[in-house]
Symmetry: C2
Subunit: 164 residues, 2 copies
């Protein structure tokens, strides 16, 4: 949320609006930066790495989870991708239309749907994922190596705190 304005300027404005209240600007900064970073990474990757493949960020994540765990159950994919089952239904329809993935009923449990990748899906991921990882390396290069573990652990702690 601190786009063209400086942090101090934003804090001064907020203080004016809520001068009678006690606010935690450190917590504000963490949340704000968390979303700006996630948004920036996502948009950048979608416009560079993923642009040619026609995959959205979410579609790529679903492809990745399926690729690693196939045959994968949809409930498992939704959990790993941090999206709802309803959203996954739509994304899988897109991926089937593109010829990258395929749905099938579980023979063990008729309620479950099993997802596997098509040959075109495997081929795509074998070139797309290394490229994706190279961009991840570039992004993380912005953080001093000595602080990367702290960063990853802090983010994991936040997720655990909420979901736990």
């Amino acid at each position: 949320m601190t786009g063209s304005h400086t942090l101090a300027e934003t804090e001064a404005r907020v203080s004016n609006r809520l001068s009678h209240m006690t606010l935690d600007f450190e917590a504000m900064a963490v949340t704000s930066n968390l979303f700006r970073a996630a948004s920036a990474v996502r948009n950048h990757v979608e416009r560079t790495v993923l642009a040619d493949s026609g995959l959205s960020w979410t579609a790529f994540v679903v492809m990745w989870v399926t690729w690693i765990w196939e045959p994968a159950e949809t409930r498992e994919i939704a959990e790993e991708a941090s999206i709802s089952k309803a959203t996954l239904t739509g994304v899988l329809t897109t991926l089937e239309k593109l010829g990258y993935a395929k749905r099938s009923r579980s023979s063990k449990d008729g309620r479950l749907v099993i997802v596997t990748l098509q040959p075109a899906g495997h081929k795509l991921m074998e070139t797309l994922f290394p490229e994706f990882n190279r961009h991840e390396v570039e992004v993380v290069a912005a953080v001093p190596k000595s602080q990367r573990t702290v960063l990853a652990d802090a983010l994991r702690a936040i997720t655990a705190k909420i979901e736990g």
Copy 2:
């Protein structure tokens, strides 16, 4: 992306898929945790703090930016909220429908649209934002105080690296 599976398990699976390639698992972990954390915070806040108000996360951010900077130009709001102008058009329509915000033409430049909050919008933010900040404090409490500055700086560095 590391939901029910352990990090080591995921890495082993990935290694199997790409045993012939060199991958940076540290970078993968940072990106993955970044998105899991952002998604968890967003969903949690939408289901608790924002649920009663009928605001989505994005609608709240737009309200917040407008509240701090009003009268605010739409291009400025879109930039601060990290959304496209097209998305902002839809969100503003929603906020006007709810009676929280109002659009008006700039008298200086006929291309610009100026946004201000309605009285109901001010009233909402005065109670909603402190509550929002309290949840931010709870979330950040998952990270040791000594590491919070490192976390915020690292996230800011990532955003700057991409957008710079």
